[in-house]
Amino acid sequence: MRSSLHQYRLEKVRKLFGRNQVALDGIDLTVRRGEKVALIGPSGAGKTTLFRLLNCTLRPTSGKVWMNGEDVEGLHGQKLRQVRRLIGTVYQQHNLVPRLKVIHNVLSGQLGRWSTLRSLVSLIKPAELKLAHQALSQVGIAEKMFERTDELSGGQQQRVAIARVLIQDPEVILADEPVSSVDPTLASTIVRLLIDISENTRKTLVVSLHSVDLALAYFPRVIGIKSGTAAFDLSPDKITEPMLEDLYAGNFRDTAMIEGTSERVDPVPYPTLS
């Protein structure tokens, strides 16, 4: 494989669910290594689907996706898992396993490296305690290591999810609405945390944010997504108020995050294939 400066390259990517529900409608996108990108746009614009394409959970209906210069279309089985290992994802709903202890959720970041047997043994006697402790200290909740995950607050669970990504140590961090279910102060703390991780370890960072203010304040590149296409792709100083109004036209726009801690359900549930 030729090495590539591009972390991601997407060409005319379309994704349809069923026969006529268009989630993505021809996206072209290039993300360089180490770049920090924020995605904004109304609910249902296709951001979650885009993330699922970027972390190889879904495949495009048409168009091409390259990761590190490699066409992901032909990847299956072991090779597909190897590529996925390089991509860490943080989700809005944390997507942790509620009944497991924090330590196991954190260590599951290692699953791409561990053998099946080793992962099973670790469920009984946790391996690499030091590593887990280090990751949890970095996100500031080391003392929660042996608690059951569902006993933690929403913000704490999101930190566990970030610790899992730290353990995974991927090339790319994707974060799909990572802060829309935590309060505003915590939200900017978590965004800062993600940016620090990205800068300290030169990881590519793609984050979708409900809050336009956070996106404009922290990211050098902001992409507006609307109706499955990129409406604009600019540095924040070039983004004008009319552009934002147009992006959210007819949609609820969350500027101040007044809801705070209210849990928001993912607007794009995964459609079943039946």
Binding site: R52, T57, L58, H76, R85, N95, S108, L111
Partner: protein, 284 residues
């Protein structure tokens, strides 16, 4: 199917279907009355009355003599032991087949989408596995454990072992089906996250699937164990050991007071198992 149910809920004046359905429903019962040979009055005829009376009075008082009770200890223990091993074998059969029979694990949904799109060979292999597992499971459970026991008695001879096998196979079929339903019911989001960081299917299963399914998994398995205690008593009737064999012997000798003793023992055994499983469930 969907339309017909809807018309049942809101019958339109033009549709004859609901009336037809109700007529068929009633007809089914009327006809079955005749063909099932239901004659309630026979129960109260002189002969029926006398037999019933003889059976019931014969049961009292139950035989609680030390002599008989000490004879029953072994068969009672045997019943429990049959149920234990029968259930264990059922889990060993039901668990892997239930896994392969879980649609969201094998053939569809977000955990298979990237894996199976554009991979026709892989896809047909997965579908083959899925239908094979489903087929074996329904075969195992559609044959009653009584019939299985009958066959295994022929195969391995009289005694508790055919009972163990019968429960293992028949209950394996039931457990497998229910396991797959439990597995399909778990929240897929944590699983999606594990997949996206590079975990394989087994790792996803043990880190995401199983922990979420554990309470239901354990409580259903324990419930089946309770059923197995009862079943292993019945299986004795075809010569598969345990208390059932004793019931059969006592019945044949018209010692109904012994039958009652055994039924009381069975009641306490099932109650104990129920109590134990409630304790375990409370721990989860």
């Amino acid at each position: 199917m969907n339309e017909s149910t809807q018309s049942l809920i809101r019958p339109s004046p033009k549709s004859l279907f609901p009336y037809l359905f109700i007529a068929l429903f009633i007809l089914a019962f009327v006809d079955s009355w005749r063909r099932a040979g239901i004659e309630p009055l026979v129960l109260f005829e002189r002969q029926g009355r006398e037999h019933l009376w003889k059976f019931i009075t014969g049961m009292f008082p139950p035989d609680l003599s030390w002599n008989f009770l000490s004879l029953m200890v072994r068969p009672a223990l045997e019943t429990i032991q049959i149920s234990l091993w029968g259930t264990l074998i059922a889990v060993l059969i039901g668990f892997p087949l239930g896994l392969l029979g879980t649609q969201t694990l094998v053939i569809r949904g977000i955990l298979n989408e990237a894996e199976l799109q554009g991979a026709p060979v892989r896809r047909s292999l997965r579908y083959g596995l899925y239908f094979l597992a489903r087929g074996v499971l329904s075969l195992f459970r559609s044959i009653p454990e009584f019939v299985w026991a009958f066959m295994f008695v022929r195969a391995v001879g009289l005694g508790p072992f055919p009972g163990v096998l019968a429960i293992g196979v028949a209950y394996g079929g039931m457990l497998g089906k229910v396991y797959s339903e439990i597995f399909e019911g778990v929240n897929y989001r944590p699983l999606e996250a594990l997949q996206s960081l590079g975990a394989n299917k087994l790792q996803i299963f043990f880190y995401g699937w199983f922990p979420q399914a554990l309470p239901n998994f354990v409580s259903y398995t324990l419930y089946r164990w309770e059923c197995a205690v009862r079943a292993s008593a019945i299986l004795g009737l075809v010569g598969a050991g345990g208390l059932g064999q004793q019931i059969e012997i006592s019945m044949r000798m018209f010692n109904f007071n012994e039958v009652l003793t055994i039924l009381i023992m069975l009641f306490f055994m099932v109650a104990t198992v129920d109590y134990l499983s409630a304790k375990v469930r409370a721990l989860l």
